[in-house]
Amino acid sequence: MPASRRNTIQNGGPSVDKIMDEKRDELQEFQQNPNRVLTRLYANCRPKFLGWAKENYRIGAHDLADIFQNAVVIMMLNIESGRLTNLAGTLCTYIFGIGKNLMQAFIRKQKRIEMPGDVKMLQSDEGDPGIETQMIEEQDNESLWAKVDALGEPCRSILILTYKENMTSQEIADVLGYASAEVVRQLRKRCIDKMRKP
């Protein structure tokens, strides 16, 4: 048997250094060929994520698929913005971490306490709003959303994670890679203040 083949059989597998190199390479590979890495994530990481999430969280399959996609989007935003330059684990592990925060926020939605002005309360107090009222509200929402969109990143992500995904400032700091919850609060305040300007 040739010597090279003997060595392959006798080795226990790739060395630790090689695994670390693979992790660094994964981020570099994403920079060079994002579609290939994303396809691999969907093929390998997504089934693991959905399986693990189904076992540990009571969330429907459709919502879990959305959560996984959001986690991938956040990962891509973090790479684009330069907030993610070093991976402690693999991209899949990174996505798991983001997904966990998104799922915790999702589950908390069931604990929502009603307050004055909340959509649910308005509809129950006033009956079905007329079509005109609905159209006016939709227009207001669209113009406000256009302002949010125009702010760009990171305001866009911070506001969506705060008001749509209902995450805490600490969770937002964890998924977007900011140093602390306080940093997120300061950024959010600045974004909202920009929106108040005419």
């Binding site: 969907y42 693991k48 996609q69 899949c92 959303w145 990143e153 969506i160």
Partner: protein, 309 residues
Amino acid sequence: MNTRTEQLIEAWFANTLSENEASELRQLLATDPEVAAEFAWQQSLARAVRTGKLGNDSIHNRLNEVERRFRFRQLTFRILAIAAAVSMLVVAIWFFNRPGPAPDEVADISQRDTLETKPQPVVTTPQDSALLQKEALEREKQAAEKELQRQKAEQQRLRKLRDSLKIEVVANFQHFMNDSEFNAAGGVEEGKKMAKEAFILYDDKKYPQAATAFKSVLQNDPANNQYQFFYAISLLGAQQYPAAASILQSLTKQEGDYQTPSKYYLGLALTGAGKYKEARQAFQDYLKAPNNRQFNSLTKTMLSKLPAE
């Protein structure tokens, strides 16, 4: 608007408000017009933002393309798998239904067999020996290739197991609450500034930096169990599993507040380090320990994921 009001509004949007805090917020909304106006403004922002999606057009276009290709690939594999299964079925049906030999042929065959099974004298020419040797080498080569394939498959299986268990370790890692005097509410003696800095990094979940800071702190106070515990958790959070396991191993033997939680975290560290048998033992020790409610269900989850003994 003061910080407390901002905190209450933030907690409402994050669905972390307690009943008492909810009552406090309702009271403020009813009595303070400035707070009511700010709250209404943020609610209108929330309604507008609900129509939006994370990410930009470029990211969504890329993901749509990836999903499209992924679904196409899945469909192609399914079609090929079905085609392969149908082909095998057709071959199997043909094989078991093919016509057998006629009765006359059977008689001839059995006679022929008798003639042919008579021992024949073995003729070994140099060419025959070479051929036999070549065949033997070929068989040996095939056996070696099969063994190589089997080992590669086993290595791949172990690699997948290791990667999936590392994911489980990250998923089941819980930030242990900082109960030291160095949390946000506590005071600090002058001489313990380094320790306070280490705990601030820990509270911010900057585990690699916290681990480095705790290492320095322990040089001055090596016998301090609390520092050792949070050093070990920081190492675990930074995924330095063997180093974390080594410290947690000794903490599980020392009586005190950290003895029981150390057993759970030791299980995580050993799992991350690939020592599944020892990890199983650590998790089982945790389940037998007193005051083990905190990580009870996480421990059972980890035990179900570890490979069977």
